[in-house]
Assembly symmetry: C2
Homo-oligomer: 739 residues x 2
């Protein structure tokens, strides 16, 4: 008995010992497993809520107020001062590092002692009317100095004199109509075009190509006037004395005109000023409608009415071209602006990633403004500022994102996206290997209606998921999500029941990141109702009337709309930086590719006969899209079975997601546009603001019916289809198992 009892006890002991050991082992094993993964995973969504809730309308208001008191044009002392303040505050908010990154780039300013203006001259050459030298300064800002008058940045100096020809919006089609249908040549003449529809640089390029010797641009109430709204300060319409500043470059993504492809550092080689990329060769100047009326009213043909009291139905707008006898009057442009190499400053702040410090999620927006920048860009900068503050709060509570977050306050966006492009050039190697996504933060509001999102297709799903977690900022929509509010106001199209998301064009700082480097990108802002509000951007765009007050009084009195935008931009950054598996959706890319392929093939079908003659087929492209669709589907199925406990396997699939956008980059670039390298998306060759899908094919097809050498032209179409098909195939390959 005693022996047996001892035996039992020993057995008992052994079992207990083993069990305990195993228990310990198992706990050790599994607690180790989950350390790097699940832990981070669980708390992340809790922190997202905290991150979004922390953002406060009143603080966004304060930031906006603070950074719109003084004009802060790129290259000026005041813009450096704001940069220093932002750097200091971002440090105070708790970022791990904040630095100032300068570049020396070509800027353009009016000559302070010789203002630019346009005259009507009589027979003897005497100036009988001169346009105004500045906009009437809004109330409360009368004592502010350094308000730069309206000008076209990078216009060369010059005094061209000649007959005036009106060419509507100065679009490619306007010039073609003028030339082909109306048989009017602008060679040696000065053209006057109205702002709107396309980027002003494209207007100038078209005018140059047509042989004009000067360009005048004016803001037409039809394009910058909302019905039933008063001009500022009584409403948010553009006063008749207001005019739109802006650069008139055709950079095609080159960045600083003197250092294309390389960052403009002190030691960097610079082109001679006359070799600069994209510089206009003829004088250009913007005027307001009051002045425009004077110029236009003396023209023959249909005379534009001068009833400056509200939205106009002006009969001269039916097409380009006043053939008219100019009542023996001519205009003279007097432009004295200077180009000069000046120092600009980006502010770059970082939160170091906890697990993958070498993966970057970037939130960038510009700081430089034409004058006060009440909307453009400080409504966006205020939102970024609040995002940084909220992130800093979380850091203090122990949060640290999985990946590195980079915040950027860009300089000299208004001069051709220069600060952001130089930084992209400077950091191209790091970005192409490490950047997960770039979210842009230009003007956060351009209307009072609903959300507007432009992004790469792989971000669609994330945008929808996120906006369901954000509240609508609209009065009377308590408890309604931003998604629902947006969906109700701007449903996609017939083929999809979801809020509309558009392609990215250009005209803001995401360009180098998305179009040159192939980094997934997106932008979000509050916008107008496109169906009823037909003016371009917003009426006071790039005028002195973009003040803090216009936002506070009209656009967002509660600052809840700006908070919603902050939550969208910030939330995107948060989820991209902190999700274990990157929230990018290759299936959405597949859907979009299919739409774009259908669309370009449909466009080509307008030349069905020639397609047959020249043996042009879209078969290879459709086959590639099918291939991509299958690869994407398989990829996301495999992602379902991913062992999330294995850090290498997670990293490998994340890398596939991250590099998907990169796969669409063609190192050879688009024809004649070496810095536009994205095969699926590029700014339209006819309007930088608009995004074109399959731009290589589109451009090859453009106006092909009038080609001088149809054989060559159709060969180029085939070449572009081949490049598109290969690129989509290649992108599909990146989604298949890596070995």
């Amino acid at each position: 008995m005693k022996r047996e009892s001892r035996l039992v006890r020993w057995i008992w002991w052994t079992v207990v010992v083993t069990a305990l050991f195993l228990l310990g082992f198992c706990i050790g094993w599994f607690s180790k497993r989950s350390k790097a993964t699940a832990n981070n995973h669980k708390t992340s969504s809790k922190y997202l809520v905290e991150f979004l809730d922390e953002m406060r309308p009143d603080l966004i208001r304060d930031h906006l107020r603070k950074f719109t008191r003084l004009p802060h044009l790129a290259g000026t002392e005041q813009n450096l001062k704001y940069a220093e303040e932002i750097m200091k505050e971002w440090r105070d908010f708790g970022l791990d590092s904040v630095e100032m990154v300068p570049y020396d780039i070509l800027l353009s300013y009016p000559n302070k002692s010789q203002p630019n203006y346009i005259s009507i001259v009589d027979h003897s050459g005497k100036e009988v009317f001169n346009t105004s030298l500045a906009e009437p300064v809004p109330q409360g800002y009368e004592d502010v100095s350094n308000i730069v008058p309206p000008y076209s940045a990078y216009s060369p100096k010059g005094h061209p004199e000649g007959d005036l020809v009106y060419v509507n919006y100065g679009r490619t089609e306007d010039f073609l109509q003028l030339e082909r249908e109306m048989n009017i040549s602008v060679t040696g003449k000065i053209v006057i075009v109205r702002y709107g529809k396309i980027f002003r640089g494209n207007k100038v390029k078209n005018a140059m190509s047509a042989g004009a010797k000067g360009v005048i641009m004016f803001s037409d109430p039809a394009d910058y006037w909302a019905t039933g709204v008063k001009p500022y300060p009584d409403g948010w319409n553009l006063p008749g004395g207001g005019a739109q500043r802006g650069n008139v470059l055709n950079l095609n993504g080159a960045g600083d005109p003197l250092t294309p492809g390389y960052p403009a550092k002190e030691y960097t080689y610079r082109l001679n000023p006359e070799e600069g990329v994209g510089l206009p060769k003829i004088p250009v100047h913007p005027i307001g409608f009051h002045d425009a009326t004077h110029l236009l009213k003396n023209m023959g043909g249909q005379i534009p009415p001068n009833n400056w009291k509200g939205a106009l139905n002006v009969s001269y707008k039916t097409g380009p071209g006043f053939t008219g006898d100019f009542k023996s009057q001519k205009v003279r442009m007097n432009i004295y602006s200077n180009n000069q190499v000046s120092r600009i400053y980006n502010v770059i702040g970082k939160i170091r990633g906890a697990l993958e410090p070498d993966r970057y999620v970037i939130l960038g927006g510009h700081r430089d403004a034409w004058v006060f920048g009440g909307i453009d860009p400080m409504s966006g900068a205020a939102v970024v500022h609040e995002t940084v503050r909220s992130a800093g709060k979380l850091l203090k509570r122990g949060w640290r994102p999985r990946r590195t977050v980079v915040f950027a306050s860009w300089d000299a966006e208004e001069f051709g996206l220069l600060g952001s492009t130089e930084w992209a050039e400077d950091n191209a190697r790091l970005l192409q290997e490490r950047a997960v996504a770039y979210i842009n933060a230009d003007s956060a509001i351009e209307g009072m209606y609903t959300l507007r999102v432009d992004c790469t297709p792989s971000l669609h799903t994330l945008v929808y998921d996120l906006t369901k977690q954000i509240s609508s900022p609209e009065d009377g929509e308590e408890g309604v999500s931003l998604y629902e509010s947006w969906h109700k106001r701007d449903n996609w199209t017939n083929d999809r029941d979801a809020p509309r998301i558009s392609k990215l064009g250009s005209g803001s700082d995401f360009e180098a990141y998305f179009i040159r480097l192939g980094i997934a990108a997106g932008r979000a802002r509050y916008t107008k109702n496109k169906k009823t509000e037909r003016y371009s951007s917003y009426p006071v765009y790039h005028s002195v009337y973009e003040t803090f007050e216009i936002v506070e009084r009209f656009y967002d009195p509660t600052f809840r709309r700006l908070r919603a935008v902050a939550q969208v931009r910030g939330g995107l950054i948060f989820l991209l930086a902190d999700s274990q598996v990157l929230p990018l959706d290759a299936n959405e890319y597949a859907d979009s590719l299919r739409k774009y392929a259908d669309s370009i093939a449909h466009l080509a079908q307008t030349h069905a006969e020639l397609m047959k003659t020249y043996n042009v087929s879209f078969e290879s492209l459709f086959s590639a899209v099918k291939n991509f669709t299958n690869a994407a589907k398989d990829f996301h199925e495999r992602l379902q079975t991913l062992d999330k406990e294995d850090p290498l396997q997670v990293r490998i699939m994340n890398d596939q997601l991250m590099y998907l956008e990169r796969a669409f980059i063609d190192p050879l670039g688009l024809p004649g546009r070496p810095f536009y390298r994205h095969v699926i998306f590029a700014p339209s060759s006819h309007n930088k603001y608009a995004g074109e899908s399959f731009p290589g094919i589109y451009d090859a097809l453009f106006d092909i019916e009038n080609s001088a050498d149809p054989d060559k032209a159709w060969r180029e179409v085939k070449r572009q289809i081949s490049i598109a098909a290969f690129t989509v195939h290649a992108a599909a390959m990146t989604l298949t198992p890596p070995a």
Copy 2:
């Protein structure tokens, strides 16, 4: 007492239980930690020894024998048959996957019914002497069909007739000497140049630029004749009837001439044949020395002797240019070759990586041969074959490398590196994100003296470490390492006591991987003694005499030299694929950059006065190199303290090492050479075979003293220095902590 004893027992119990639990926990914790890392780490070096020991000279001999029985020119049925055999055997050896990858590329063949030849013509235009139509076939191969006669691939058809001008090696300096010192124009004439010193395509380009209307190339015994060695089959010298085949393209890395930048798939757009990249515009033809003597002996001036019995000291070699009266004789070229789009086949085999399947280590070499390919390339292909066999053995024993290994049997290397370049274009996106290194496997032997390694600087240390673990193949060197044997025969220079390693040039399949994509690359082979053996490559190069027997009888009777090369190539692949931390050395790159910067600055100093005049300084480059040196040093110090148990941290630092080479790529390419994108290394513009460091600066400085526009020329020098400085800076940035 009893209570106390119970208490004691309880305490005892608790302690034991806790201790056991903790023991279990610790074992669980730490055994988990080491699973993915140390485990792999320990066994890897054991497997390396097995991998190297498994390689057998007799089997390398068998492989070589098997694949050199028949001519297997690219695009022929026999070369497809060899591809199929290789595919089958690689599968049998045990690779995870083997596939055949076809492309349809532009090849060039002689016209079978109208052979190419060159004639001496008399006054009346009658052909009084014709060059031979083929080489005398070596013994044992008399019944073999499909031996392509010597020709210059891609020569256009044509029958130019004219005076003959001798231009030595046809180098840039030879043409300059002819033009500037001897005042001889070759315009409208036919030039005859000897093979050697530079790539034949460069000779043709120079002749075209000089205005020649045809090029004849011949093998001079001074360049293709080793002292005291008999011509084949009694020795390994080139018989007088032998001639060198070869392409005469100037592709500058474009790959298939009709599809530059894109893989030549079925659907791919092709340029019109006349637009093809790098195609010569004038007829070209190669001849042997017997024929050359006939052409040269009738020329005026110094007459080359015709004593074909051994190495010659021919007086005509003192410089280019026979000014001569041509004894009223002319030559006529009769070229009937055709360019045609043909299908080629790469064989791609893979071993899937165990932990990082998305990291690729590539061993690639070509299979296509001009005739039998006894040396070029099958000595290399046999070595790859044996490497695959040995790797397969290890797989069966349970080994699996950490990373994926890719084995490639390229096609159409002889036609301009086409098979490898098309595959690189096809897989560019995968390769640029995932390729760790590319090891090239062309001819494994070109001499009987010692090892020759050309590689990127970051591989230096690995090459040294590895060769210390391999035995010398030389008789009488038992127990001596390959490193020692090599070191003894070819010490670097005064500044370093180690075996010499050279820069990569081009002329083999690594080009697209290294120069276009920026993947760390290297090559190794057995070579001659450069100090005493002054002929180019090896005497029978690209002739019909490159047989199995020439290797077995003369070059490597024991096949131990080939085994040593197999061990070097295979060992590099093994260590790159299986080391936990990538065996790449950024410090070596820093050292090399310093040397190259010193060297190019020294070269520029020959124009010290002009440097001052035009304000040219290398300061920015030296500063960048210093910066890089510090970053590399810091990086390797941090690497010492890397937590190797943390898979993400290991991956992050490995990524920095992997992407280091990529950082030297400039997406804009070198001036006029868009596919040569490596800022540190490019094939010389004057000789594709040679590597030039800082090629952009070198080319800008070249012949600058004769520039027509010195201001512009020196501006270009400054621009290139600026690009080099920026690139080195940018590469340094990639080595700093990622956030």
